[in-house]
Amino acid sequence: MVDAIIAVESLSYEQALAELEEITRRLEENPPALDETLALYERGQMLAQRCASLLDQAELKVRQLSGEDLQNREGE
């Protein structure tokens, strides 16, 4: 079920996309009453917007392992 309490802004791309897909599938296959449908639709639009802005604004994060990171650690 959709948990409308989780703010869309806090979702990752993966999470937002998964929820959007679930909402779409629900509305296609087993739509609830009209007012809940409209609420879900609004959330779906927000999720889509979140994904789009993540794509547009993302910057590739790059980091390099240090020599210490690379040491073989026993029993890790």
């Binding site: 993966e14 794509l55 790059v62 980091r63």
Partner: protein, 420 residues
């Protein structure tokens, strides 16, 4: 050996002799498929585009030529005077000069032949262990969140990959495990990088890459330890080593092989452009689903509304009024029809009546006989001789005295009834 040349041999022309020698060379199987080792000297690159040099060692020198067309296909070796090389080709004779030369079709650094043999041996052994089996290979994640790269931190390969990732899928995080990619320390550092990235949480895919080079340069990626580390990696590995046509054992061990480092970055990620298209399609589906549901509701509403309308008083009045009008028209139509029928009936009665009137009878020649008192005489038996009667005709009447009376023979039929 004869002490003196035979005086009985025919003398050949220079051309014939040269041609003969050429045939001897061209028919020799070894000379037509030979690898020769030596040092390059007298390198010359005239404007024709062909390359001429002499391959020499301590004991001899061999003229070599590489045609321009062949040069385009050769890769890797940078020809220089003093360079020790192995060349492959066919021995031929240039008749004009009377010189023989090697027509070169392949060049490799000295020792590469041996290296290649070792490559074949290693490949066979590891393949027999099943390390390169297709079934072992794992699927790549669709949208990796964290991408590991094992490569030289200073090489162009890393920059190429980062640029590609930035363009295609900036959502990901990249973790670079720096390693030498050639030299004796390379295999150890590559293995260490793979292990460290496996240990790090959340790495979805690892790229193992380096730029192009000779077989010797790429040799670290044929190292057994590297191959085993790639196979042992829990995280899927994509290899992007050297140029398009280079294959190392690491390529065979990897879950996917790309022809170049950039190719490896492409294989690892979806393209943001495709993701945007998929997102738009998802939005369209959402809108369509809601629109579909709205349409169903609207239909239901329209149907209910119509039913409600039919139950309303206003509708009933309107409906009754219409019924009333209808009945009235029918009534009127029925009335008129009846009237017409009666009129027709009347007309026919009137006609019949006219035909039956006494006047008409009189006109036909019959007479009405009345007594003096006025009573109608129907039977001759009523009359007496000498009686005064009146006879009515169509246009008048006459007073008449009965002179005689005759009675007819009694008729078979009963007496005619008096008409009313």
């Amino acid at each position: 050996m004869p002490a003196q040349p035979s005086l009985f041999q025919t003398s050949l022309s220079v051309t014939d002799l040269t041609r003969y020698m050429r045939q001897v060379l061209e028919n020799d199987p070894i000379l037509q498929d030979v690898w020769v080792t030596g040092e390059i000297s007298n390198l010359s690159r005239p404007s024709s585009g062909h390359v001429y040099f002499t391959l020499k060692d301590a004991g001899a020198a061999l003229r070599c030529v590489i045609w321009r067309s062949t040069l385009l296909k050769l890769r890797g070796v940078d020809l220089q005077n003093g360079l020790a090389v192995e060349t492959h080709g066919q021995v031929g004779l240039y008749e004009r000069d009377g010189t023989y030369q090697l027509y070169v079709d392949a060049v490799r650094p000295v020792g590469e032949g041996r290296l290649y043999q070792e490559f074949i041996r290693l490949k066979a052994r590891l393949e027999a262990e099943g390390l390169f089996e297709e079934e072992r290979k794992r699927a790549l994640p669709e949208r990796p969140r964290r991408i590991g790269i094992v490569t030289s931190p200073t090489g162009a390969a890393l920059q190429d990959m980062l640029n590609t990732l930035r363009r295609r899928y900036p959502l990901a995080e990249v973790v670079v495990a720096p390693a030498a990619v050639q030299g004796v320390e390379a295999p150890g550092e590559i293995v260490r990088g793979l292990v460290a990235l496996n240990r790090l949480a959340g790495v979805d895919v690892i790229l193992v890459a380096r730029g192009g080079g000779s077989l010797e340069d790429l040799w670290a990626f044929n190292d057994e330890a590297v191959v085993r580390a790639i196979v042992a990696s829990a995280v899927p590995v994509i290899s992007g080593i050297g140029h398009e046509t280079d294959f190392t054992l690491a390529d065979f061990a990897a879950d996917r092989r790309a022809p170049t480092p950039t190719g490896a970055a492409v294989l690892a990620t979806p393209d943001a452009a495709d993701l945007r298209v998929a997102l738009r399609r998802q939005e369209e589906r959402l809108v369509a689903a809601v629109a579909g549901q709205l349409a169903v509701c609207q239909n239901q509403f329209a149907g209910l509304n119509a039913r409600l309308g039919r139950a309303s008083p206003a509708w009933r009045v309107r409906n009754d009024r219409q019924r009333l009008d209808e009945l009235q028209s029918r009534l009127v139509r029925a009335g008129m029809a009846h009237l017409q029928l009666r009129r027709a009936h009347q007309q026919s009665l009137a006609a019949r009546l006219k035909a039956l009137s006494p006047l008409a009878v009189l006109r036909r020649g019959y007479a009405l006989v009345q007594t003096a008192k006025g009573g109608v005489v129907r039977q001759a038996a009523q009359l007496e001789v000498g009686q005064e009667i009146r006879v009515q005709l169509a246009d008048g009447s006459a007073g008449v005295v009965v002179q005689s009376v005759h009675l007819n023979a009694p008729p078979a039929a009963p007496a005619p009834q008096a008409r009313e």
